[in-house]
Symmetry: C2
Subunit: 358 residues, 2 copies
């Protein structure tokens, strides 16, 4: 890409290199808490309308960067675009989570699944990546992403959100071969998808394993971790993605950080239920950590937001490799001013913590 990156804190942190201050971005930073996002969504008609029209996706991707001093942009899209492109028919009912019109109901449904065409059904994603890269003009790096195979399979088999995704779990226990067939197909599709995003201009890649934490230790390794490791290996084997840092985020899986680091990823997302000092000890400082403020803190008073942000920074300490983030996506009722307070405090205190060196 011809543009020179003006702010590379995020990428430096992922390489465990020193930075002048701690980089920060916010999961779901382009979201309903922003009035300008809600206005664009209204024009687009629906969430999928927003995601599938590159001009709209680009517009909302850039909105939070115009308001806040964020150190990364993340492609506006959904974690479930791949199964949608596989023909399952993704939609979002107002106030509800994602739904598939044609969930997987049989072995025949799973046999029929194929890796979607990255220049066909998923072309809109690559067009969005290209447009956002162009419009970013090197301000900050652009993160591409996908859901993990386990998380995609949860929704594909259940058809919608669930407390326990017991339908997929039952398949894992009753028909493990079929479950592995599904997960392996998804691993291939997600790898191809992330490679295509890299080729289109994404500068880092993230895999959201939202539901990995619902699994016990053995099943987590077998059904969630294994396919993420396959994807990281595939990304390292491809010229387009080889150099890109990969971040894995298994929510609620703090006990598996060391195993996740073994995949060869550059960084790990960490939720707020584990202290970053413990998380760093668990991975032996081998990978960068991204997190981990409780998103509910953004509903507290500004002084509390600042104090809690400093506590997160202190828990990581003056080591390279910390990317500040929430431990989960920002929620719609948060006041945008709170995000500005957070971002500015992280940069200011992060600078103090690091003694201003770069």
């Amino acid at each position: 890409m011809p543009d020179v990156l003006k702010n590379d804190r995020f990428l430096r942190a992922l390489r465990l290199e020193p930075t002048d201050t701690t980089p920060i971005w916010v999961m779901r930073q382009a979201g309903r808490y922003l009035p300008e996002y809600r206005a664009t969504r209204e024009r687009a008609g629906s969430f999928m309308g927003l995601a599938q029209q590159p001009e709209f996706a680009c517009e909302v991707t850039l909105q939070p960067l115009d308001r806040f001093d964020l150190d990364a942009a993340i492609l506006f899209s959904d974690i479930l675009t791949v199964p949608d492109a596989m023909g399952l028919g993704l939609s979002f009912a107002e106030g509800e989570g994602p739904q598939f019109a044609r969930p997987l109901r049989s072995k025949a449904d799973i046999d029929k699944l194929a890796v979607p065409d990255m220049d066909g059904e998923l072309r809109y994603v690559m067009d969005a990546v290209r447009l956002i890269r162009k419009e970013l003009r090197g301000r900050v790096p652009l993160i591409g992403f996908s859901g993990s195979p386990w998380t995609l399979a949860c929704y594909m088999v259940e058809g919608r959100g669930s407390k326990d995704f017991a339908t997929l779990k039952a398949m894992c226990w009753n028909e493990p071969k079929l479950a592995h067939q599904l997960l392996d197909t998804l691993a291939q599709a997600v790898a191809a998808y992330l490679i295509a995003q890299a080729a289109a201009g994404a500068q880092a890649l993230m895999i959201f394993d939202t539901w990995g934490g619902l699994l016990g230790p053995g099943p987590f390794r077998e059904f969630s971790l294994r396919t993420m490791a396959q994807i990281v290996a595939a990304l390292k084997a491809d010229a387009a993605s080889r150099e890109l840092p990969v971040v894995l985020f298994s929510k609620g899986a703090g006990q598996h950080l060391a195993a996740l680091a073994d995949t060869g990823c550059a960084g790990l997302g960490v939720d707020w239920t584990i202290d970053l000092a413990d998380a760093r000890a668990a991975v032996g400082g081998r990978v960068a950590l991204q997190g981990n403020l409780d998103p509910a803190i953004l509903r507290a008073a500004p002084a509390v937001v600042r104090r809690e942000a400093r506590m997160v920074l202190d828990s990581y300490g003056n080591h390279p490799g910390h990317i500040f983030n929430l431990g989960h996506g920002i929620t719609p009722e948060v006041q945008p001013e709170q995000v500005k307070i957070l971002v500015d405090e992280v940069h200011q205190y992060g600078r103090t913590l690091r003694g201003g060196r770069r």
Copy 2:
């Protein structure tokens, strides 16, 4: 109590004494998966009608014992009876979770809260305990229980279920004194409630901290663990409850097991996201552990249920102090036959594992 306990495996395990086999009971064992439960609930008119009429509560408490060789009975009630008795108006909409008609909205609401009268608003619970003890005739011990102060407060402030209970969290950060006032009042009320259940005949006590795992490490200690420790201390200081083993169950808080054991409880509930060998190492064998089969496994084939049950038993090993249970409540769509398969396998394999000694 005059009746001699015919099956004391559960209480022996809580005292870390050897047993001939591993005791088992199932969270929510009196529940919608049983057709006889659904029939009684229909007659009672509603969930609260079931809980508040001792004859009905007794009937459903005993139903699973007539079907399965369970080693403990648990009072049929709800974790939210205490706030209901405080005047908040508990109800259950069909297919929804609990709701309060009058959630806490201000400091004035919290100032007004008082420990309810155990012989007044909560008399129905004590009547149920007395009746169940009588009808059990010493078959197995009876467990009394309550929600934890943190978990009660979650619902009392939010008014209903929530993904993140951010309203209470915001209070903890913005008005920590008020949050502590609420939690301390609830700790007093829950202690009095559990003491009254002990006086009425409960033989073990359990505190369900369903939402403790939503908190980061510091807030967990400050807002959830602290009040549970207060309650355990109060129970140890009262003649009626002094001898009763207490089990604490903070779901999703596997990283806090050692701190939970420090409260002086006899046992800890453990969800399925942690291996029991690791959990036992974390508490140094000081307390009994209760768990931890993934409830979704009850949707798998019988051979899988048996295999996974044996894996849980093996992960704990041939040590005293294991009470087999699910890692969360049984779900409505489970076939009752699956529970029989589980209970029988646990007893049979548990006997083998222990070499049949007592």
